[in-house]
């Protein structure tokens, strides 16, 4: 019996993906565990493994196809002893006309749909309806909530509901009014109609922008998924998160000498390479993690219904990669040694560049670090990456003339700027956090106890 191979949902929020590459062609035999295709998601390219044995009878979605909806059939797998032609005949036409997920029940029973591997244990049926293209999805909201939203000029679709079964009630609209625009949580269990792509309403149309330049004076590079996601998330962050910024100088001399001492003691491996080589950034990660634990009120995530107070410090670290950036998360960084953090960062950076990070490796976290010190940037302010409440922008360590005990002296100083979500962390609290960070950086031995 032929089986439809469906577009997999590789992360809880995934609704569409690009079919980057087929690694099997029509007629190829496959067994469970074989890599069928590469699927490009928001930020990573993932391999799609077969879970059934058989022969690829028909490829329905050619490689290079963008925005394939989750659960859309992408190929037909026939059993090995099966008539491949018959299998194809009973399979859906290549490129189904409706871009949304097909309703398997509507097809003759001859083609049972088989879900992609459930390894993520995602409640996929909830994602499957993918109502993104359907503007008529019903929003459950109380009459009063609708009226309040209308009066306040809020699109009810964009309000996260806290009533029974996610119904939008009056208090949600009030919270939205007082707390800025709230998008529906993209939680997988909420088959919420996706809000329209988050772009500034006033943004001029593409053709108007192009008209500003002489034809032929530029080339158009279509956005890949990462670029779209970066644009979407940062616009969301700047539109919904009230940022404020705190800058402080940290004297690095003790840290640098501690780093030197630790690196010198690294045993050499058989290839002559030292077992570890700590970077300043590794210290910065650890110091921020310890500071978050020391100031737990700042180790939080804003949600409309309540503050998530995190018990561990999960620190995202921005890694520049060709075409964009990605922020893998060092989990429970406060519990990890500098050497462990250093090793984990090296692994993350390598796999990030190869776009092999798994979604669970770059999602979540309560704060983040963006370090442009290696480019000589002295100070800058970073955009908060939700669900974080803060992000620390780290500048270069620079030798400066400082006044110490009334005398001029030379010290290596690094300026750091904490961008803070004012809904979650107020000014004094942010100052406390960055102060704790400075203390750890300036007395690095405190990090070791």
């Amino acid at each position: 019996m032929p089986i439809n191979i469906l577009m997999p949902a590789l992360s809880p929020t995934m609704e569409k993906g690009n079919l980057a590459k087929w690694l099997k062609k029509e007629g190829d035999k496959v067994k469970a565990g074989d890599i069928l295709a590469e699927i490009e998601t928001d930020k990573a390219t993932m391999e799609y493994e077969a879970i059934e044995e058989g022969v690829i009878a028909k490829i329905l979605v050619p490689e290079g196809t963008a925005d394939v909806a989750v659960n859309e059939p992408i190929a037909v797998l026939a059993a090995e002893d099966e008539d491949v032609k018959a299998a194809v005949a009973s399979a859906p036409a290549a490129k189904p006309s409706a871009p949304t997920a097909p309703a398997p029940a509507a097809k003759p029973a001859a083609v049972p749909t088989r879900s992609p591997p459930p390894s993520q244990s995602m409640p996929m049926p909830h994602i499957a309806p993918a109502p993104a293209t359907n503007g008529h999805s019903r929003i459950f909201a109380s009459p009063l909530a609708r009226r309040l939203a209308k009066a306040a000029g809020i699109d009810i679709v964009r309000v996260a509901g806290s009533g029974p079964h996610g119904r939008v009630v009056a208090r949600d609209v009030e919270a939205t009014k007082s707390g800025g625009t709230v998008l529906r949580a993209p939680a997988p269990q909420m088959p919420a109609p996706r809000p329209p792509a988050v772009t500034p309403v006033q943004a001029p149309a593409d053709d108007k922008i192009r008209a500003l330049f002489e034809p032929g004076s530029y080339e158009v590079v279509p956005h890949d998924n990462m670029r779209k996601i970066i644009a979407q998330r940062l616009v969301l962050a700047k539109q919904t998160i009230p940022h404020f910024y705190l800058t402080i100088s940290c004297t690095l001399d003790k840290l640098l000498s501690a780093r030197e001492d630790i690196n010198v003691t690294a045993p050499k491996g058989p290839d002559g390479k030292p077992a570890w080589k700590l970077s300043v950034n590794d210290f910065v990660i650890k110091a921020l993690a310890l500071a978050l634990i020391k100031v737990p009120e700042a180790n939080v995530t804003w949600t409309e219904t309540g503050m998530l107070k995190h018990k561990h410090a999960d620190i995202g670290v921005a890694v520049a990669i060709p075409g964009g950036l990605i922020t893998p998360v060092i989990r429970k960084a406060e519990t990890k040694s500098l050497i462990a953090i250093s090793a984990e960062m090296k692994d993350y950076a390598a796999r990030a560049r190869a776009r092999k990070l798994k979604p669970e490796e770059y999602q979540g976290g309560s704060s983040a670090i963006s370090n442009l010190g290696m480019y000589g940037i002295e100070e800058f302010a970073a955009v908060i990456n939700p669900p974080h409440a803060t992000i620390l922008a780290v500048g270069a360590g620079v030798e400066r003339a400082v006044v110490r005990d009334g005398k001029l002296a030379v010290a290596t100083q690094m300026k750091v700027t904490l961008s803070t979500d004012h809904r979650a962390v107020d000014g004094a609290l942010g100052a406390e956090l960055i102060g704790a960070f400075k203390t750890y950086v300036e007395s690095p031995t405190a990090m070791l106890v």
Binding site: S142, P143, L144, S162, A170
Partner: protein, 472 residues
């Protein structure tokens, strides 16, 4: 070794026993401690037996007015003992029902006086009442969560102390040996007014004293004024802005000195006095002070989920503050255990708790009174509809009453509803559902109410608020 539970609830009133059932439904190993009666005051000495008494009064009233319906009832009389006996029988039946519900839900009943020694530990000492079959005895018990649901008792004012003989609380008022010829009721809240209404129907000369300028002080003043006129027409004397300063007891009568009201200081001699000046939380002898549980003026301080300031100790119902109503206690208990379970329930919105008084005429309300809405600076629309305009009310011979609704002008939110008249206690729930679903006037106007019913007045009042009333 002490027997261990997930949740122990102290007190088996409507708050406590409903909390126990919900806790058991959620899979908690649950026990309930009771010292006197399963079902607490509500079932045994409050809501339920008074409704039985008032039903007798109502039927007696109809028998006396049989000719108004074209009927004849001669030599109409009553047997006070039989009226009380029926009321006690109703309580007994429900009391047994609670025992059955505890068994059905596998809730252990522990019999005796509870004392919290420490978070997680409860000592139960022998009480005075006889234990029901199958109850656990005194001893040390453990529970991760302890919920105090001990209810309330009549407030006692100095100089007006009840003596069980001449000066009654609701306990004695509920089981009179004979109907007093004259009665003074101190306090015009729900309890005072219900007894005033009951005894007046059975022929007593009733005087009600209220310290505030309005009877039924929590009700909308227009509704309370309407009710006052009806009571006075029935022959109940009402003195507002008045206090009883002194009670002089004789063998079988009491002379009260009353200050204020119209006419300065006066004395009044009556057979019996009912003190109905409110209730106060049962916070004593539970070990709460020693544990440092925060208590404010006889009320345990809680957050929206029944949590006290001490981890593992919770309070719900009357002992956790007003409004002291059984249905508020029940819901508070359900929210409390659901929060313990991690279900993230919403805390109670006190503006959506209905209140009912079962005098004749009945009074029912929910949400803001007109005065409270104005105090909140709300711009409001008020709609009214009188029973006089309702066919069913006229057919019932109950054409005296009023339905009043209050909307927020800007949003069309129903912020309050107030009713006085026959059967309004059974009607109010329609508005409560509407408020909880956050309907606006539009949905209420689109709702079809059945004809002929008293409920049609509820729609008419809404229409009236928007200048669209039909049958007036």
């Amino acid at each position: 070794m002490a027997e261990s539970f997930d949740i122990i609830i102290i007190g088996s009133g409507p708050g406590g026993y409903v909390t126990a059932i919900r806790a058991a439904q959620l899979g908690f190993k649950t026990a309930i401690v009771e010292r006197a009666y399963l079902g607490g005051v509500c079932l045994n000495w409050g809501c339920i037996p008074t409704k039985a008494l008032l039903r007798s009064a109502e039927i007696f009233h109809y028998m006396q007015h049989a000719t108004a319906y074209g009927l004849a009832a001669e030599k109409v009389s009553y047997d006070a003992a039989a009226v009380v006996k029926r009321s006690r029988g109703v309580s007994k039946r429900l009391n047994d029902g609670v025992g059955f519900l505890m068994k059905k839900n596998k809730v252990s009943v522990i019999w005796g006086e509870a004392m919290i020694d420490a978070p997680g530990k409860v000592t139960v000492k022998p009480g005075n009442a006889e234990a029901p079959k199958g109850a656990l005895g005194p001893g040390l018990y453990e529970a991760k969560h302890i919920i105090v649901a001990t209810g309330a008792q009549p407030r006692v004012l100095p100089g007006l102390e009840p003596d069980q003989r001449l000066v009654w609380t609701y306990f004695e008022a509920m089981v009179p040996e004979r109907m007093p010829k004259s009665l003074l009721v101190i306090g015009s809240g729900a309890i005072g007014i219900e007894f005033a209404s009951f005894y007046r129907t059975f022929g007593a000369e009733v005087t009600v004293i209220e310290v505030l300028p309005q009877i039924l002080p929590v009700e909308d003043s227009e509704i309370a004024g309407f009710a006052r006129k009806a009571f006075e027409k029935q022959g109940i004397k009402i003195l507002t802005g008045a206090t009883v300063t002194r009670l002089d007891k004789k063998t079988d009568s009491v002379t009260a000195t009353i200050d204020g009201g119209k006419g300065g200081t006066q004395t009044l001699t009556v057979d019996r006095v009912i003190s109905a000046v409110g209730v106060t939380g049962n916070v004593e002898n539970l070990g709460l002070e020693k544990l440092g549980v925060k208590i404010d003026r006889g009320i345990i301080s809680i957050d929206g989920y029944g949590r006290t300031n001490i981890r593992g100790i919770y309070a719900i119902g009357d002992v956790a503050g007003p409004p002291m109503l059984a249905h508020k206690a029940e819901h508070e208990g359900v929210v409390c255990v659901e929060a313990i379970k991690g279900l993230e329930p919403h805390s109670i919105d006190k503006l959506k708790i209905p209140g009912c008084t079962y005098c004749a005429p009945q009074i029912a309300s929910v949400g803001l009174t007109e005065a409270a809405a104005k105090e909140k600076k709300l711009d409001i629309r008020v709609g009214r509809f009188p029973f006089l305009g309702n066919g069913k009310a006229i057919a019932l011979g109950e054409d005296q009453g009023l339905v009043k609704v209050i909307f927020d002008k800007a949003t069309g939110q129903l912020v309050g509803a107030h009713m006085v008249g026959a059967e309004v206690t059974e009607l109010i729930q329609g508005y409560v559902v509407a408020m909880n679903l956050e309907t606006t006037e539009e949905e209420l106007m689109h709702t079809i109410f059945p004809h002929p019913t008293l409920s049609e007045m509820m729609k008419e009042a809404v229409l009236d608020a928007y200048g669209r009333v039909l049958n007036m």
